[in-house]
Amino acid sequence: MKLTEDDIYRTSTQYRNWSFTPTQLALQRQKTNQQASERVKAAVARQRAQRVRQPQADTASTSESERNGSGIENGSSTPIPVGDQEVNCLTVEEEMKLVDTFCEKALDLGKFCNFPTEVTATCIQFLRRFYLFNSPMTYEGQNISRTAMFIANKAESYFLNAENYAARFGPKATAEKVLAPEYLIIQALRYNLDVRHPFRGLKGGHLELIELANGNLAALPSATETPAELQAQMLLLPRKPDGPATRMSIAELEKRITDAYGFASHILKTAALLTDAYFLYTPSHIWLSAHLLADEPLTLFYLSTKLPSSSPMAAKTLATIRSCATLLSSHRSFNSDRIPPSEKDARDKKEKEEVQVLVKKLRQCRDPDKIDLVKLNQAQKRDAVEGGGLEENKAKRRKLQREGYQKEAEDFWGPELAKGENREGK
């Protein structure tokens, strides 16, 4: 009895729920954008209406200063355009650019916290999956990214202390803020916490190449060539596609293989994460594409040992890998080490400016209902404790209720905190 890698991959949630054709992906993003835009417009309209009604209701019982105070806390510190003009919502492309930015920031966050590669990689896929069904207009990137990173740690079996984790982000960040969107995110991930990465595949391919180079391995039991013949072919592999045959020593070949591994690994940690690669291709496609970009002749040789060119699957597989390679190489990070620094700086500057414009625009079209995730979450949690049927003994329930009330009181009477949170929320 043997399961092939394909059999296993096809049962994964990544394949079943998170693999798309480019068209499906575009349609889903369109749908998400449209729904979020409608919601923002409706919410803003409601707030405007509220603001018109509010003074009349309040004048009888409250003083001018109290009213101003409430004005700050009810989210009107979020600049909502006054007047009747339509809210200018983000387009799908703008949303995608922002999500890409969140993902790049998450990469930095992972480096900053020294998290293992797979944790950061999982976090970024969580973000991409989350924002397939949610718009940055509804949920802002910073809080979501921090929480997604927290969940990614758990999903990869690193169980962090929320308080210590939050403490890394300075005094304004709290465990509560980290935890508040946890359910929101997990629900948007459809409770799929397993992300299949290409890292182990790349490592495995690397080890096989080294063995092939040393004449120790026939890649397939059915191979017609002996390990020595494969080794001999390998030592002649041209450096460039269609280049002249080389005559490498085994040591040179090993170095070449290791260099290719290093470069491919870099692509997997950057471009592969920051594009739609995971949505469109399988982990094997992705690592082979990265390897193809790193050393095409070597990769084609490796493929030929697995899949003879006579096989009807060979052409199809190679076409898929090439199209994935095109996607990976189209990402900014791909050639950032090889273009002149001045050109790179100019490009980065332009990119930064574009993002800043978007961030500014985002401020004008955020869904005012979803800015304070901590309070939304508290409200839901309190319901769970009181109505969710925790039939512990009465004393415990009272204690929880008391804590709930205290928390609530703090929210009401702690204006500095609330203001801080609002500001953070932007």
């Binding site: 009895m1 399961l3 049962t11 949630t13 998400t32 729904q35 417009k41 409706a42 919410a43 309209a45 409601r46 707030q47 209406a49 509220q50 509010q54 309040d58 409250t62 009213r67 105070g69 409430s70 004005g71 806390e73 009810n74 989210g75 069904f133 509804t138 927290f150 758990k154 079996s157 202390n161 929320a162 308080e163 980290v178 935890l179 946890e182 359910y183 929101l184 997990i186 629900q187 948007a188 459809r190 409770y191 916490l193 397993d194 209902d369 309070k375 939304l376 839901q380 949690k381 309190r382 319901d383 769970a384 404790v385 009181e386 969710g388 925790l390 709930g404 609530e408 009181a409 009401f412």
Partner: protein, 406 residues
């Protein structure tokens, strides 16, 4: 101050709308945070169709609506279990495991829940409990909709003196267990809590591996894993010795202990503490040495191995495990090799001649069954990983105490 209903995402009680206008302006301000509860503002254009919920929420609600939750079957520290069924087909029963929200847990969704959700979502095999769906309620309780497995568990079976079973029956159960474990390992998942009462029995007699609350993916080489897993009686010697790098063979050891218990109809390796557990193992298998298990003396807790003991002779096995026959005894001992590097992998277990030699394993529908019933379903599913109800107070799978040895 009084509990403010406007902060609640639950629908407001009748009259809530009018209460809002009489409320403290700050409370009103907060109420805006959740417009789903708001009486629709007169001038507001409502978004048609979405009811103000996220796409993800809508998908979640769709899943939730597929199931009807029924009687409460049981409650444990970690979860409450309800009986339930598909809404469109009441004859399709399920068990709904509602993971308790613990407001005192400071780090959000608990590890048990994360592990179970992550791994069960990926594993689909006839001998692994099926996860039909996951949904959460508005109150953020995550519910796992699991396969309905009404006929108790393997531990209950060997404890039930009114049931008798044969070597062929044992082979049948053991084979279903071995396939489940093999499948987990093929999918790079370590179960880390295999024991009789995590092996549940379906109405048709199929054995199903359940409770993935301690499971994890295989670690990359070099990465440290905790040795504080697997319920003590079933914990392999390398974990008791404090090994932080291990593989699928930890589950194979547990599988061996389960098989032995099934034959003996009593605990095979009972012990009251972790250090005693190791000595109990050595009583049967002998004290490991550098010759029998290279590297063993360098493990963290090697000091507790103490005086060298000799392993039990073959006659001990033949006497106690007659029911398994020579092939079965050979397999059992291969699953219980002290050195994890020599111990059989799940795949090698399946390749053993025991399965193909006589007697044939009993067909699952002909296996002896016990009553079980709904209450038992609840019992089985609500346990926290690492607990048994052996009455020995060994609910401490994650607390190793070697201090008492000194």
């Amino acid at each position: 101050m009084a509990h403010s209903p406007v902060l609640s995402p639950k629908p407001n009680p009748p009259g809530a709308g009018s209460r809002i206008t009489t409320m403290n302006p700050k409370a009103k301000a907060l109420a805006i945070l959740n417009h789903a509860n708001q009486p629709p503002a007169p001038s507001t254009a409502t978004t048609p169709g979405d009811g103000g919920t996220d796409l993800a929420e809508q998908m979640n609600d769709e899943v939730r609506r597929k199931f009807v939750s029924g009687a409460r079957l049981g409650e444990g520290t970690y979860a409450v279990v309800y009986s339930g069924h598909y809404r469109h087909d009441p004859s399709r029963l399920v068990a709904i495991k509602k993971i308790k929200l613990n407001p005192e847990h400071k780090d959000g969704i608990a590890p048990d829940a994360i592990r179970e959700i992550k791994h069960l979502s990926e594993l689909s095999h006839p001998n692994i409990i099926q996860l039909h769906a996951i949904f959460s309620t508005k109150e953020q309780n995550i519910s796992l909709v699991l396969e309905h497995l009404p006929l108790g568990d393997l531990e209950g079976l060997w404890k039930n003196q009114s049931i008798s079973y044969s070597g062929a029956d044992i082979k049948s159960w053991a084979s279903m267990l071995a396939q489940a474990v093999w499948f987990c390992h093929e999918n790079y998942v370590l179960h880390r809590d295999i024991k009789g009462n995590n092996l549940l029995i379906a109405a048709d007699g199929t054995l199903k591996l359940a409770d993935f609350g301690l499971a994890r993916s295989f670690a990359d080489p070099g990465r440290v894993m905790t040795s504080m897993v697997i319920t003590r009686f079933y914990r392999p010697p390398e974990l008791l010795l404090g090994c932080l790098h291990y593989g699928g063979t930890v589950d194979v050891w547990s599988m061996g202990v389960v098989l032995a218990e099934l034959v003996l109809r009593e605990w095979f390796l009972p012990a009251d503490t972790d250090s005693q557990q190791l000595l109990v193992i050595c009583d049967v298998f002998g004290t490991p040495t550098e010759e029998t298990w290279p590297g063993v003396t360098k493990l963290r807790n090697a000091a507790i191995l103490g005086v060298a003991k000799r392993p039990q002779p073959l006659s001990y096995w033949r006497q106690r495990f007659t029911l398994l026959g020579e092939d079965g005894i050979d397999l059992l001992r291969s699953m219980l090799i002290m050195d994890p590097a020599k111990r059989f992998s799940a795949r090698k277990v399946l390749e053993h001649r025991y399965w193909t030699n006589a007697p044939r394993p009993t067909k699952k529908e002909d296996l002896p069954k016990q009553g079980g019933g709904l209450a038992k379903v609840g019992e089985d599913l609500k346990r926290r990983a690492g607990e048994t109800d052996s009455g020995r107070g060994d609910k401490v799978a994650r607390k190793l105490d070697f201090g008492s040895m000194r």
